[in-house]
Symmetry: C2
Subunit: 411 residues, 2 copies
């Protein structure tokens, strides 16, 4: 059986490398007599590349090649990736992708086409890079009703937060460093504004709860507004700030799903996840909390997840996996404004005595926080559990000038 | 398709409970029209139990029932579990087990029989309770050459060590507390002497490296000799002591495998694993380090792993998984005495000045450790990398009285 790769960027070239390096081991695991990379689609030229002979700029060279049974899509972006993947599935080729945007926007549709054609459409690498998470959720945790899934899903933002937390760097300086090290792109918006995390939590929520969740249904807040003061208040509270994507079973067949910075307790397995590492917590009714940790990005980790899917496709040429991922339904995702949690609040430009009095009057039993060197005209506290709707009402009448408002988790 | 359970103890009754509680969800995932528990084998009586009608004391009632396609073995121990499982596989029934002793001693043989009969023999729950680990290793990490696997695999000992580390309890007091809480058995030997961890690392090593590793090939040291002084020296070094089962690719087609207490760095993902939780670190050539964390024991977590395997058997009635688990080969496991690492050494009943001189003379460039309140007649230090063979030679000629010797890891 032959393989084609569409998109020879970081991940695509990593897939070629892993297929070559562990070739014999992979063929043996695949239970196929052979498993060879025979075509690579990319519009760019790669003179001198060891795979030079395999390149084509014409998608039809892959589509019409009947010896190619598995196509790896590592182009990224929605178009033409979607069109090419759809055509491959309709032409009887299984597809493996690392493209989270594709899966978050078109997952249900492509799984359906794969099912109709008795093929596989696999996407382990689309979330958590090389961390096994898609297959454990769909298989190992199959006996559980999953109640919640939450994770640190973006390495770039986690690197920036780690520098803010452990080295007291400002957001801007940490972002610059991440760009110098190649962890952040020149236009870092998709990472720091939370969009990348949003796509990943959509994929996880769709898998865990059974109906497609689209990115535009998920409230998404990035880390650009976080200050060092927030980081210090989190430490005073006994934890750290992380950018968390999470989805929760809400009841009545509904779920919540959002991406926001959040306070995480220091003893949580998510708190110690530093630098570009990712971790994903799954809370099941039978298993309790399970955490998966590892490199969430990078050439070889992500490539290894893609190749594991390729092996799976080779072993099961005629079979579809049943991910239990159904079509979206109306009003499935509850508004983030109706989800209850405690909130951390940093009040700025205030007379502390008056601000404490107003905070206690309007928010009820608050937990005061303080740290050495806090500005004289600021206070910080944690509210009782409430919805954001309630919070906004209380904040409006309190007269307080709120500099930061960050959700507090129970993990 | 019908299911039988052999052994209605903690895990077996948990399996019945999960099968009932999440019945519809499980049947749907299994892609079978029905999936019903129809028989339970146990020699004991359970008057008033909700499954009372299903009990039998006669194994033949399961063996000869052609409607039963999947048998769950949760009896524990080697006999008669082995004999029953073998008979079931030979009679055309897939088997799911949580019995680590059975898999560690008979894994290769039973997988072979399952293969010959085109059936499944699955054992996700035998390691790490409900934590997905067997399937991720055999599938998700299939594109990797695995270089090392290491884990905190026994909740009882980890609970005891947690109490010693965080509350300064002695080993004996912590063991008593564990027994009171039901975490340790009245005869705790299998846990505290490391045998339980040994069986689990045998299963993981067999899976990761491809040839069966038997418990009697694995050097196994428990935690009964650990003192609070050792715990404090570990803190002074910058880490904690954990009971670690680990296996490493050694080269020349050989591996190392052992179970010992070990110093773990504080920033390691294994260091923060407290109480009865387990965690398993897998180091692959492409993926780097991946860690799986969760409840390593307990009724429902373990039962949920068993039921996930049951679902898998129901989905794949005619298919065996290829675990790549081959027969043992001679001299496969290198002697623990030939494996290099740094060692922590606690010298007792000594004149410190003379002891430091002797330590430096014989062990070379050592790292001195000290903590507030250490006895006046003790010293503690870390040696350079060496084999235990070398260590023993140096220790013999040094004339030092060695109270503790504990391996130091690099994770």
């Amino acid at each position: 059986m032959n393989i084609a790769i569409m998109g020879y960027g970081v991940v695509g070239s990593g897939v070629a490398e892993v297929l070559k390096k562990n070739h014999d081991h992979i063929v043996q695991k695949s239970m196929q007599p052979s498993l060879e990379l025979t075509r690579i689609l990319d519009l760019r030229d790669f003179p001198g590349d060891e795979n030079e002979k395999l390149f084509t700029k014409d998608f039809n060279d892959i589509l019409n090649d009947e010896t190619i049974g598995i196509v790896v899509e590592t182009m990224g972006g929605l178009h033409p990736a979607y069109d090419f993947v759809l055509a491959c599935l309709q032409a009887g080729k299984s597809v493996v992708t690392s493209n989270k945007e594709l899966v978050a926007e078109k997952g249900y549709e492509l799984l359906k086409v794969a099912e109709e054609n008795n093929l596989n459409f696999l996407f382990e690498a689309s979330v958590g890079g090389g961390i096994p998470i898609i297959r454990p959720i769909s298989q190992c945790l199959a006996a559980n009703e999953i109640d919640e899934i939450a994770g640190i899903l973006n390495g770039t933002t986690n690197f920036i937060l780690t520098k803010m937390i452990h080295e007291g760097m400002s957001f801007d300086d940490a972002l610059k460093l991440a760009q110098q090290l190649g962890y952040a792109e020149r236009n870092p918006a998709a990472d720091v504004e939370g969009m990348d995390t949003c796509r990943k939590i959509c994929i996880l929520a769709s898998l865990c709860f059974g109906n497609h969740v689209y990115p535009n249904e998920v409230y998404t807040e990035g880390i650009t507004k976080l200050t060092l003061a927030d980081v210090k208040y989190a430490q005073a509270w006994g934890g750290v700030i992380k950018l968390i994507g999470r989805a929760t079973r809400y009841g009545d067949g509904k779920i919540s799903a959002m991406v926001t910075p959040a306070f995480i307790q220091a003893h949580s397995q998510l708190a110690g996840v530093d630098d570009v590492f990712n971790a994903i917590l799954v809370r099941g009714d039978a298993i309790g909390d399970v955490v998966f940790y590892g490199r969430g990005a990078g050439k070889l980790p992500t490539a290894s997840a893609v190749v594991a899917d390729v092996i799976d496709c080779a072993k099961h040429t005629q079979r579809r996996k049943n991910f239990g991922w159904e079509n979206c339904i109306p009003n499935y995702v509850v508004s983030y404004r109706d989800i209850k949690c405690p909130f951390f609040v940093r009040v700025v430009s205030c007379d502390p005595a008056k601000a404490w009095a107003a905070a206690e009057k309007h928010f009820g039993e608050i937990k005061r926080l303080t740290y050495d060197g806090a500005p004289q005209d600021e206070i910080g506290f944690i509210t009782p559990m409430m919805t954001q709707r309630e919070f906004d009402e209380k904040a409006a009448v309190s007269g307080l000038t709120i500099g930061s408002m960050i959700r507090v988790t129970d993990y």
